[in-house]
């Protein structure tokens, strides 16, 4: 029982540390690609500390509760995801619960932004939800392929099967699903080619328009956790998780650096282009992957 409580505390803290480190790494890699020296790796930490000391403005009770709900949702998702051996809430609902608890984050920000009563926010949220609909189609096909391949909905079982039967990306159909997941990774993270919902130039950073001191700090932490969640999901489903957290971290680092290099060089899509792209190539790959897994299974 004690180890479970220890894990309950440890895994969100680890996720936060890894997520914030990834944020700093992303800015550093982006700078180096653009021939700039770039900020120190701990710049996001400095920003968060500064934001916590800065006053802010609230537009009503839902404005506060929304951002709190969204961050709490992200923390709960982290509890469901295995990080190496650490997976506190493995037993109470598998991948489906992860999929549905991941709804807390966009819904929380949407509700708190809506109370902010600013048209930039509303446009940002409507784009965020349309983009969500866009990347959800291939993401669901990918998750269903993984679930039908392993005939289970608990992610811990998938990891344990992969431990001894080899990574699932090596088996032919799940390779297609893995590639399709990697293609939609920037959309899930909301980074450069797909940051239509928080575009600083067009809609002055969308849902973040009215976020000031501590709200922006919570929003940055939530973005870091979403970063961690989507990459951890990829590593667990396709790269076979890991026995101990260090190997798990190394795998995540590789996937993340590849993702950031893609995102650093692309201009931003328009929202129609983004959804058309998401519904074309990644969906085709994921669909073929699912059909083949279904054929093999039955």
């Amino acid at each position: 029982m004690v180890t479970k409580v220890m894990q309950m505390i440890l895994s969100p803290v680890l996720a936060l540390v890894v997520g914030v480190f990834f944020l700093g790494l992303a800015r550093k890699i982006m700078a180096r690609i653009q021939w700039r020296y770039g900020p120190p790796l701990i710049q996001p930490v400095i920003d968060i500390i500064r934001l916590f000391y800065q006053k802010s403005v609230s537009h009503g009770r839902m404005f506060d509760l929304g951002i709190i709900l969204s961050l709490a949702g992200s923390i709960v998702v982290v509890l469901f995801l295995p990080f190496g051996r650490i997976c506190p809430l493995a037993g109470s609902g598998g991948l489906l619960v992860i999929l549905y608890v991941m709804l807390f984050a966009p819904l929380g920000i949407a509700l708190s932004g809506g109370q902010g009563a600013n048209p930039n926010i509303s446009i940002g949220i409507s784009r965020k939800l349309i983009l969500g609909l866009g990347y959800e189609v291939p993401l669901l096909l990918v998750l269903l392929a993984a679930m039908t391949h392993y005939k289970t909905i608990s992610i811990v079982e998938m990891v344990s099967v992969q431990q001894n039967a080899g990574w699932s990306i090596t088996s032919w159909p799940l390779l297609l699903s893995g590639v399709s997941y990697f293609l939609i990774l920037p959309a899930i993270l909301g980074i450069r080619p797909f940051d239509v919902s928080s575009a600083p130039q067009e809609i002055s950073s969308g849902p973040m328009v009215e976020y000031g001191g501590k709200y922006l700090a919570l929003a940055t932490i939530e973005h870091a956790l979403v970063l961690f969640i989507s990459i951890a999901l990829f590593v667990n489903l396709f790269l076979g998780g890991a026995a101990n957290p260090i190997i798990f971290f190394v795998k995540m680092l590789v996937v993340f650096v590849l993702g950031v290099c893609v995102n650093a060089v692309f201009p931003r899509f328009r929202i129609e282009q983004a959804v058309k792209y998401l519904w074309k190539w990644p969906t085709l790959l994921a669909f073929v992957g699912l059909v083949i897994t279904l054929a093999i299974r039955s």
């Binding site: 800015r27 700078a31 653009q34 021939w35 700039r36 020296y37 770039g38 900020p39 120190p40 710049q43 400095i46 920003d47 500390i49 500064r50 000391y53 800065q54 006053k55 802010s56 403005v57 600083p200 130039q201 002055s204 950073s205 973040m208 328009v209 009215e210 976020y211 000031g212 001191g213 922006l216």
Partner: protein
């Protein structure tokens, strides 16, 4: 650049965090904004010092007034400055915000911007080059260290006078006063000033 000295972080985290994470409002107020893109891109890279442009005043704590201030722009500058959260710092570029510069006798520019919003730092030069901007940033660090960058506290304490000057320059303002300006209305204060002259 004492960013890596842990002792300073532990002793005064708020001050250190404010120093090394200055997010500037990307609001082009005058001709000086043409100097800001080279500052934030690969040629000079202000991000080394933690200075990045952000889209809205809500997320910012540094406001660069770049170049001359026309009467119409003053209305937007005051609105943006009031929407920023404390602690906030402002830096004036060039001589035009100081005393009107070469537009000293123009009917349509604001002469002493200091009368309307508090300014923490001035950079000389008609338009200062990126090196001068970095000198201003480092100068702002020292001001923050010595607690002299207190433009926002000055604005809060003597808000009545700032508000009065703003209404004298711009006439009726659509937005309500940021801080309570006491019961006496500011307009009849202006009659008193005019009668003294």
């Amino acid at each position: 650049m004492d960013r890596n000295q842990i002792a300073k972080w532990l002793e005064a985290p708020a001050k250190m965090a404010n120093k090394y994470s200055l997010h500037a409002v990307y609001f082009c107020t005058g001709c000086g904004i043409i100097e800001v893109p080279p500052v934030i891109t690969s040629r000079w890279d202000a991000e080394r010092f933690g200075v990045i442009p952000v889209a809205t005043p809500r997320q910012a704590n540094l406001f660069l007034i770049t170049g001359y201030v026309s009467v119409k722009t003053l209305r937007a500058i005051i609105r943006t400055y009031e929407q920023m959260y404390e602690p906030k710092y402002t830096v004036g570029f060039g001589s035009c915000p100081i005393n009107g510069g070469m537009y000293w006798d123009s009917y349509n520019t604001i002469k002493h911007l200091d009368k309307y919003i508090p300014i923490d730092g001035w950079i000389a030069g008609c338009m200062p080059r990126p090196e001068a901007i970095f000198i201003a940033v480092t100068h702002l660090w020292t001001l923050i260290d010595k607690d002299m960058a207190n433009g926002y506290t000055r604005y809060r304490e003597s808000y009545r006078f700032y508000r009065r000057n703003q209404e004298m320059a711009l006439g009726k303002l659509e937005w309500p006063p940021l801080f309570a300006t006491g019961n006496k209305s500011v307009i009849d204060e202006r009659q008193a000033v005019r009668s003294q002259q």
